[in-house]
């Protein structure tokens, strides 16, 4: 277990530093709460709002198609690096993988996911 001692020290230090900062700002800092200050901070966004209006579904379709090719590349790179060692089996399995992906891509294309209108 000795290799974990560094992590334990790290956790202890992190906890100590964070507690000290919170304690200092609580005791030393001026406290003038207002409605806006008490809201959860969310990078300038209004944190709670009812979903108003619509977001066109075509944005999601594009995003999903991007993920399709992203996944393909993620698997193709290590396969290409290890290609010489994998032989025919590796080639056949990669072809199967691409065929399955392309069937999905064809489905999206066929159903109008690429038409931006």
């Amino acid at each position: 277990m000795s290799e974990y001692i560094g992590i334990v020290i790290f956790f202890a230090l992190t906890g100590a530093v964070v507690s000290v900062f919170i304690a200092l700002s609580t005791f030393l800092g001026p406290s003038k709460p207002s409605k806006i200050k008490s809201e959860p901070f969310e990078c300038g966004e209004i944190p709670f709002a009812l979903p108003m209006g619509h977001v066109a579904v075509k944005f999601y379709l594009t995003a999903i198609l991007f993920v399709l090719f992203d996944v393909e590349v993620v698997f193709l790179y290590p396969w290409a690096v290890a290609y010489s060692g994998l032989g025919l089996t590796g080639l056949v399995e990669m072809v199967i993988f691409i065929v399955i992906l392309m069937a999905g891509f064809f489905y999206a294309w066929d159903n109008g996911a690429l038409e931006w209108s």
Binding site: L88, T89, V92, V99, I100, A103, F106, Y107, D110, N111
Partner: protein
């Protein structure tokens, strides 16, 4: 390349699913697609017989033995029945048939993979493929809010369960340095890890993860909502086959990977089985919706099926195999009658006087209800007898008594339907004839239920543990 032959049945189903996805836009009616799926199911069994044979492959992560073949045939059969039962619903609810059947095929592929896996990660992969397709199928009727609610609950709880399962796998890997079953068992024995607290945590987490998949009390909360919200054919498919897939994985795990941890494994299963039988039976008593009642009944049956896994003997596992298959057919049958009656079949009160207005339908329903209760000469009785016998032999007498008591309790809510059908006056118009596709599926399910009860030894010859 020879390894791929071990997966011939799965490959056939995947190819069929891809074909359906590619031609999806050109398929308007459900019937041709359903016939194609049935053809694929038959072809996958044939491919298994011709190409697969026996053996292990993919670095000992896939094993093809009689256990695998049994479950693959079962999943192919339930896939075909599920395809038949859903034809009318897809047309009526305007669900695009090709996509739906592609999901059904891929879901069955996942189940087959889970049954043949001898590696924790492959089991995870198979079960995840099965459930990912199931979420979509539960929520496929987008206009109905109950369907969306069911799908979302199912997704959230099952993802949580998958996380627990994965955490269990990572702990098992951390302790033993392996994810293959045989390697885990031998590492535990050689290094004397039995009783290691981290390994115990892994065993419990993996057990809990799989318990979610087969909807065992206290991890059953998603099942009633998902089954009620989903379109009835999907509930039927999920209730019958996802249990069998989870049980297939549990059976192999207990016998191969966690055999050195048998006391803990069986203690976990004793609690799951006891709570599930009692909880499922008691909660089913107050249901007035037929699908919800069958959902609670499926929870109770998951408990009975687990009984066979408690002793950790090959005999017990084969009793659970018999239970899983008998249960799959009788549940598909009971849901099939609900499907055949259409929207009328969903409320319990609509079964009033069915014996007079539709004698054939009522008789078939009675058969499935008797089988679900466990009354001879049906498959339900033979299967229940097998698992209770095994649990008595292993010395868990209290659990066996609980199982019998729960059967008596379950008789009340199953036979209440029979009383409504035969001893009350008909209400409203008589239901029309059952659609031909539903009748065909019901005939197969009824045949299996009767044969399984009359000749239980015929099934016993098939249920060979790994």
């Amino acid at each position: 390349m020879t390894d791929l032959a071990l997966l011939a049945p799965e490959l056939v189903l995947v190819i069929a699913a891809l074909v359906l996805i590619v031609v999806a836009r050109r398929v308007q009616r459900a019937l041709p697609a359903a016939l194609f799926v049935i053809l694929a199911a038959v072809a996958s069994v044939g491919a298994g017989l011709i190409f697969s044979g026996q053996g292990i492959g993919f670095q000992a992560s896939i094993s093809n033995d009689s256990y695998t073949h049994f479950f693959k045939v079962l999943f192919a059969a339930t896939l075909a029945l599920g395809a038949l039962l859903s034809v009318k619903h897809l047309d009526a609810e305007h669900i695009r048939p090709a996509e739906f059947y592609a999901l059904l095929l891929l879901s069955s592929t996942g189940m087959m993979l889970a049954a043949s896996a001898t590696d924790l990660l492959i089991v995870y992969l198979g079960l995840e493929l099965m459930t990912l397709c199931s979420y979509v199928m539960v929520g496929v009727t987008r206009e109905r809010s109950a369907s969306n609610e069911g799908a979302l609950k199912y997704f959230l709880l099952a993802s949580f369960a998958s996380a627990l399962f994965l955490y269990g796998i990572s702990l098992a890997y951390g302790v033993t340095g392996a994810t293959e079953y045989a390697a885990i068992a031998s590492a535990v024995q050689q290094r004397g890890l039995t009783g290691d607290p981290l390994l115990l945590a892994a065993v419990i987490l993996v057990g809990v993860g799989l318990a979610f998949k087969i909807a065992v009390v206290p991890f059953h909360a998603w099942a009633p909502d998902a089954y009620q919200g989903a379109s009835t054919p999907i509930s039927a498919f999920l209730a019958s086959t996802s249990k069998a897939a989870g049980l297939a994985a549990l059976g192999r795990l207990g016998l191969m990977a966690f055999a050195p941890e048998q006391p803990v494994w069986s203690a976990v299963l004793v609690w799951f089985a006891g709570l599930s039988m009692a909880g499922g039976s008691l909660l089913a008593l107050s249901q007035t919706n037929m699908k919800r009642m069958l959902a609670y009944s499926s929870i109770a049956h998951a408990g009975y099926a687990l009984l066979g896994l408690i002793p950790g003997t090959p005999d017990g596992v084969s009793a659970t195999m018999a239970y899983a298959s008998a249960y799959a057919f009788m549940t598909l049958g009971a849901f099939g009658v609900v499907i055949g009656l259409g929207s009328r079949g969903e409320e319990l009160s609509n079964f009033r006087g069915l014996g007079a207005s539709a004698p054939g339908t009522a008789a078939v329903m009675l058969l499935f209800l008797l089988s679900l209760t466990g009354i001879p000469p049906t498959a339900g009785f033979a299967a229940k007898f097998g698992v209770i016998l095994n649990v008595v032999r292993s010395g868990h007498t209290v659990l066996a008594v609980l199982a019998v008591v729960c059967s008596v309790v379950s008789a009340f809510f199953y036979l209440r339907v029979a009383v409504l059908m035969y001893m009350t006056e008909p209400q409203g118009a008589a239901p029309g004839r059952l659609p031909a596709v539903v009748s065909a599926a019901l005939a197969v399910a009824a045949f299996m239920t009767i044969v399984g009860g009359m000749f239980p030894e015929t099934f016993a010859a098939w249920t060979i543990p790994p």
